[in-house]
């Protein structure tokens, strides 16, 4: 039964998050944009306490297992959308489970999930991160060179390599007792078949944060490089059942892709929140200057600005439903890689078109750092880049539509 009504429980959480966004994010948005690498602890501590009170509501918190429909990812998408409406950079500082946890959730055993995710329910806020990209390869994930070799004597994995563009890596390893999930190869000659995810906990010798990037936007969030030099982790830190070690199949690579099926719609939700913030502020600024949008008129009677705003609204609304459909499928156990990538493609496009247009429409006011439009323009761009660029996601969509393997459509 087709239904566009937000479930009551999710609506309640959305209201709570809106209060947080209005009161704890917007007032300091500009500050953290201009003080890169400062950590918004007030927001973080509040979110940690609040999320504990709500029984954990991140990727790591999970939902108490019960009969009936599941809402985990729908709820997450709605939360991410609202937090990003508040501030996309600060949202990325939310403790309690982000992409690393997503990888653990998608690929770990029940024991591993408990072992690695329990920390998020502790006294202090904890962060995690996922490490995929390397200096020589980004979208081409199967080309990673970071190695994991098994030391049979100690039954430990020894990791070596360099990871870059790790979102929240500093907070995961240095500012909290968190962990990172590192994708490495156990057989460099095997390509995708050699890829496996490993958990490295904060404080592990041989794992070092070496660089913090200076970025176009989302400056409240740290993006780091991590070097692994003979970094040893216990055998059990390889995610998945022990057989994953010996399997020749592309289980590991598939695990990465399964992680993306879950995380791409959430990155898309981030884009949508930012786009909605922009459109709302744009309409507000226009209204203050006597311009209201006359919905319902034929195109021929609309002003150029009205046409732009109405088009933005169409883009935003339709893209949001793509996102919700993708997470709804996730919650209902339906394979969603097509929808997940579609949502990411569309949301990534939409947020950039909306923020770019908004700055253009408001002219010098749009370009001014007195207002947030220019910040959101900068924040937006990342949505079309990380968690799979727009181009990679088009490739994923096209392969599915055409029934092609990666060798058939490169």
């Amino acid at each position: 039964m087709i239904d566009f009504e937000i479930p009551e429980k999710i609506a309640g959480i959305r209201n709570v998050i809106e209060t947080v966004a209005v009161n704890m994010m917007r007032p300091v948005s500009r500050y953290y944009d201009e003080h890169e690498h400062e950590i918004p602890w007030d927001y973080i501590n509040f979110m940690h306490t609040a999320s504990k009170a709500m029984g954990g509501s991140s990727m790591a918190g999970g939902e108490p297992k019960k009969e009936g429909p599941r809402f985990t990812f729908q709820r997450l998408a709605v939360m991410v959308e609202m937090l990003s409406w508040g501030d996309a950079g600060m949202y990325l500082c939310t403790p309690g489970g982000m992409l690393g946890s997503a990888a653990v959730s998608a690929t770990g055993t029940p024991e591993q999930k408990e072992r690695f995710l329990a920390r998020f329910r502790g006294e202090k806020p904890v962060f995690d991160a996922m490490c995929m990209t390397e200096p020589h390869c980004g979208s081409d994930t199967a080309a990673i060179r970071t190695t994991a070799m098994l030391d049979k004597e100690t039954n430990e994995w020894v990791l070596n390599g360099e990871k870059i563009f790790v979102t929240a890596g500093h907070k995961a390893l240095i500012d909290s007792e968190g962990f990172i999930v590192v994708w490495a190869t156990i057989d460099p000659s095997a390509g995708r078949a050699g890829m496996r995810p490993f958990v490295i906990e904060a404080g592990t010798p041989g794992c070092q944060v070496t660089n913090m990037e200076h970025k176009l936007g989302i400056r409240a969030s740290d993006t780091v490089s991590i070097v692994l030099q003979d970094c040893r982790v216990p055998f059990e830190n390889i995610l998945g059942s022990p057989e994953v070690v010996t399997e020749k199949a592309t289980t590991g690579f598939k695990g990465a892709m399964a992680t993306f099926d879950a995380t791409r719609p959430l990155v898309a939700a981030q884009a949508i929140g930012l786009a909605r913030a922009t459109l709302e502020l744009l309409k507000e600024m226009l209204a203050e200057r006597g311009v209201t949008i006359r919905y319902g008129l034929p195109r021929q009677k609309l002003t150029a600005i009205e046409k732009d705003v109405i088009d933005m609204e169409v883009m935003l609304r339709s893209a949001w439903w793509l996102v919700l459909k993708a997470v709804w499928m996730m919650d209902n156990g339906k394979p969603n890689s097509l929808e997940s990538s579609m949502a990411k493609v569309r949301a990534g496009d939409v947020v950039n078109r909306i923020t770019q247009k908004a700055v253009e429409i408001m002219g010098p006011l749009g370009y001014s750092r007195e207002y947030l439009l220019e910040k959101w323009f900068r924040d937006a761009k990342i949505s079309d880049i990380y968690e799979g660029t727009g181009q990679i996601n088009r490739l994923v969509v096209a392969r599915q539509l055409l029934g092609y393997r990666s060798s058939e459509l490169r």
């Binding site: 566009f4 479930p7 919905y295 088009d311 609304r317 439903w321 919700l324 088009r394 096209a398």
Partner: protein
């Protein structure tokens, strides 16, 4: 609670409509367009599926309750088969829905059973006017109260089956509102164009101009209700059809691209083409969801249903043009040849910007 899955009943409706669309409409589409004649038996088969009947309560001869969502799902499928066919089957809806939505009890009893009993009959409606800035909420056709009657003057275009129609609805401006008036065939002052109108697409259907010179109608022929729900019903229907046409164009060009060889591979294996297809499918799906939302909002009497319907159609117009244009592009020179259906879909695709009033759900 969010759900993006049609009910079992709706799924059955979609399947039935799709089978008819592919087995009947798609098969006659080309010939109908070229010969400028849509075969009546095919229209009747579509009519017999009872989409309109399912929207009319038993009291007026139907067997159901109106659901804009179910209507939109069926409209998409029909248009996926052929747009001219979809519009033809739905022409009596242009007369029936406004009466259902804005008519008096007496009007419903008098007209609805006649429309839906028996075979398909060309009841129709005249909304569109020959002006570049045609605005359904600000019509140039005017009705004025005169004694107990109304006197209507103005000009309409794009009126399907006007010459054959038993009765016709005419929309005119009364005060500052758009109102519907029921006009019997041959009302004095009502002139249907002598020849069919010539359009870029939809040549299979007979469209006419309708001229109204001081046409006098009794008070009883005025639909008392508001125009807004009628407009919403049409915007959603037209938008759903745009999705159907776009889907047809997408699938055809996708299949073509998987067959056509270029530089030793299939042309679909080139990212330039594959990415176009990915964007087409993404856009279709996004707009389809917005159209569903609009239809759902109508069915659930949401306050912003009208605005959502407007946004859905706005998006559908651009999406249909983009997708049908690319479908032709993907077929290259072959897309430009009338042996392939994509050029017809491209002509139809452009039309959605002016089709408000030609379909209702």
């Amino acid at each position: 609670m969010y759900s993006f899955e049609p009910s079992d009943e709706q799924r059955l409706l979609i399947e039935t409509a799709r089978r008819y669309a592919l087995d009947e409409l798609r098969k006659v589409a080309h010939e109908a367009e070229e010969s400028k004649e849509f075969p009546l038996p095919v229209i009747n088969k579509g009519w017999e599926l009872g989409i309109l009947h399912a929207s009319i309560p038993e009291a007026y001869g139907g067997f159901g309750e109106r659901s804009a969502l179910s209507g939109a799902l069926a409209a998409e499928e029909f248009a996926y088969g052929d747009l001219a066919g979809a519009l033809a089957i739905g022409t009596p809806s242009l007369f029936a829905f406004p009466i259902l939505l804005a008519g008096s009890e007496q009007q419903k009893q008098q007209y609805l059973p006649a429309v839906i009993t028996g075979e398909w009959k060309p009841y129709t409606a005249a909304l569109i006017e020959p002006a570049f800035d045609f605005d359904p909420n600000d019509l140039k056709t005017v009705a004025q109260a005169d004694g107990g009657d109304y006197v209507i003057t103005g000009e309409k275009t794009f009126v399907p089956f006007a010459a054959q129609a038993e009765e016709m609805l005419v929309f005119a401006k009364l005060g500052d509102q758009t109102k519907g008036f029921i006009l019997p065939k041959g009302a004095p002052g009502l002139t249907v164009g002598a020849e069919r109108e010539k359009w870029m697409g939809l040549n299979a259907l007979p469209f006419y101009t309708v001229k109204l010179e001081q046409v006098r109608v009794p008070q009883a022929n005025l639909l008392p209700g508001d125009f807004a729900p009628i407009l919403d019903a049409s915007r959603v229907a037209v938008a759903a059809m745009a999705v159907g046409v776009a889907r047809a164009a997408f699938e055809y060009s996708r299949d073509y691209a998987k067959e056509r060889e270029v530089f030793g591979v299939k042309v679909a294996q080139k990212q330039a083409i594959a990415f176009m297809l990915a964007e087409m499918a993404t856009e279709i799906e996004a707009i389809r969801l917005l159209v569903w939302e609009a239809a759902w909002a109508i069915d659930n009497q949401k306050e912003d249903a009208g605005q959502t319907a407007y946004l859905a159609l706005t998006g559908a117009i651009d999406m249909a043009m983009m997708v049908t244009d690319r479908a032709v592009q993907i077929l290259g020179g072959h897309g430009y040849i009338r042996d392939h259906p994509v050029e017809l879909w491209m002509r139809n695709g452009r039309g959605f910007a002016m089709f408000t009033g030609l379909a209702m759900v």
